[in-house]
């Protein structure tokens, strides 16, 4: 069985993120590349479920050469082969999910696959587009958000498990080819061993450009189906109105309270200032509340 796992190189955004002025783009230069967690979980789930003699796993990404590092981590994590799709004429900023799905579709047609596995969503855009789009383009069966898979007793088919509400589960099997998507928490990627890393560093990575895909420009330069118009960070909560215990609120204050964050509790005061001043204020509070007696 030929299995293709689609992986995406993401940037580890756990560190401080800086914007490039004045265009407000994220400065990605200093961020570390990492595998999209859902893709890594997808690879792990497949490798843990399907023995080597039953299935050959190929990881594939649409990325420039810098992404070879993450392909090698995939190889060290259990993949047998790695393919990188890229062409000098491609530019990362011009690629949208639809273009990537088209390029992956071309590559998967070339490589032939019985099962295509994708992470259910990317770390950055979280659109969850690639899996369903590939199923459509490949005219393949699609099973979303698989959290467990197993080979049937007769070794003739694979059973896919999906979670439902209230602990219900669904076990599905389908005809080849199929596309499945996997959530980031479906499987925990293994700690990569030294020898596997060394072995992975020597595996040749296949490079497919547009010519080798037989791809014309109009076959990948799609306009996105949906465009993000605006990104809105969480709306700051209106400051809560503190109510003095001895005075009723005025109508204006009541209105403010209803429109705002509600009534503030006295116990949620924040002590500000340097540590000595804060410590004194804290002790005063404890004494005032009769928690401490002097």
């Amino acid at each position: 069985m030929q299995i293709i796992v689609c992986v995406k190189s993401e940037l580890d955004a756990t560190g401080p993120i800086k914007l490039i002025e004045p265009v407000d783009k994220i400065n990605t230069k200093d961020l570390v590349q990492t595998i999209n967690p859902a893709d890594h979980a997808a690879l792990t789930l497949v490798r843990n479920s399907i023995p080597h003699d039953m299935g050959m796993i190929t990881v594939i990404t649409v990325s420039p050469a810098s992404a070879e590092k993450i392909l090698r981590i995939c190889l060290a994590s259990g993949a047998d082969n790695a393919v990188r799709v890229w062409d000098e004429s491609l530019k990362e900023e011009n690629l949208n999910a639809k273009s990537v799905a088209s390029l992956l579709h071309k590559a998967i047609q070339l490589l032939k696959a019985d099962l295509v596995v994708c992470g259910s969503e990317g770390l950055c855009e979280t659109s969850g587009y690639i899996g369903p789009a590939l199923a459509e383009l490949l005219d393949a069966a699609q099973i979303c958000r698989v959290d467990h898979m197993e080979v049937s007793d007769d070794k003739q088919s694979i059973l896919f498990h999906r979670k439902h509400n209230y602990g219900n589960r669904e076990v599905i099997t389908c005809l080849k080819p199929a596309v499945i998507t996997v959530d980031y928490d479906a499987a925990k990627p293994p700690a990569v061993s030294m020898k596997e890393s060394i072995k992975a560093s020597k595996v040749p990575i296949m490079h497919l450009d547009l010519e080798s895909l037989g791809c014309k420009e109009d076959e990948w330069t799609h306009n996105a189906n949906a465009n993000v118009l605006q990104y809105m960070p969480p709306r700051p909560r209106t400051k809560k109105i503190k109510q003095a215990s001895d005075k009723p609120l005025t109508p204006q204050q009541k209105m403010q309270q209803m429109l705002g964050g509600g009534a503030a509790k006295q116990s949620s005061n924040i002590i500000e200032g340097d540590s000595k001043k804060a410590a004194k204020e804290f002790v005063d509070f404890l004494i005032a509340e009769r928690i401490l007696n002097f």
């Binding site: 560190g15 800086k18 200093d30 570390v32 030294m194 020898k195 890393s197 060394i198 340097d274």
Partner: protein, 391 residues
Amino acid sequence: MSEEKFDCIIVGGGLSGLTAAYLLAEKGLETLLIEKGNYSGAKNMTGGRLYGHSLEKIIPAFAQAAPVERRIVKERLSYQDSGKMTTVEYDSRGVAAPEGESYSVLRGKFDKWLADQAEEKGAMLVCGVRVDDLIVRDGKVCGVIAGDEEMEADVVILADGANSLLGQKLGFKHKISTNQVMVGVKELLELDKDVINQRFGIESGEGVAWMFSGCSDVYDGFLYTNSDSVSVGVTMMVENIKKTDNSVPQMLEDFKNNTDIAPLIEGSRLIEYSAHLIPEGGPEMIPKLYGDGVLITGDAAALCANLGFTIRGMDLSIESGRLAAEAVLAAKEKEEFSTNALSYYQTSLENNFVMSCVKGSEVCLAAVKSGDLKGDPLKVFNNLIKETLIG
């Protein structure tokens, strides 16, 4: 190379390890570098100023390509005493000699860049793996053990940092004591570029290295300007921490709230907090540097020099990595990796500025330990002038 054996395995992806990996791979040796962090630089920390001369020898004009923050053009030394502060400034703008330059750096970025350079030369980097032990047969180091895996090599370079547990296991290095190491804690505070330029009187790309003494009986402070952040921290002998009831993080808070420091960092935002052990035992702390099939470099070899107001370690680490690589290359030519063959490393270190720098720091170190650098301002400046002008 056989499937299971490398020419050289380097443990630790800091500056000395990466330098050795770069040079050995450049000469075609099968080199494996093992780093326990997820990438080189993930666990590395500095104050941080890098004197460029060591790396300049290996990668000429490296600062044009490397992610250095700012070229240091102003040195400031401040002595604080009871709310008073005297500052001496040395301005080196107009002096343009790459080998004489120093730069503020952030190790998370810088080491990652150097690791990429080493990989480009052909070194193999394996990250996220901790080396637990060494393979030793008949007294010869033959490789490394990570978990239940073993990997063999003709020679192993230990660049595993100030603690160097592997050096200790090998019996080359004693367990460190509290009077041999300093602890450094640092906050990286984000600040607008223009605000930095205005507050410190510098232009874009120019930086300030500022050392503070006398602000406490226990610690000294430092401040370096980065591209769009400042590194602010304190260093202290671990042994001296017991002199105060304050915790180390509280000491850093006190330093930041100091009336002379607070205005410099006003409006900044904390983006990183880090701490590090600094080997400060002077020449006495330097372990056995070579053995049968093994060399020790960088902080693991305690190659660090306390010059009173400033602590140098990164340039010494890079140089020790270079000399270790030279020793391995010389040994490889003869295909002999015995103690005798690798003794060239010790000889070249002795004849190099590294050892003279570490040995020269003894006077300053004694002053730091005795507290002379804190009691009498005249002593401070006397020591400074003596070290700077007389050596």
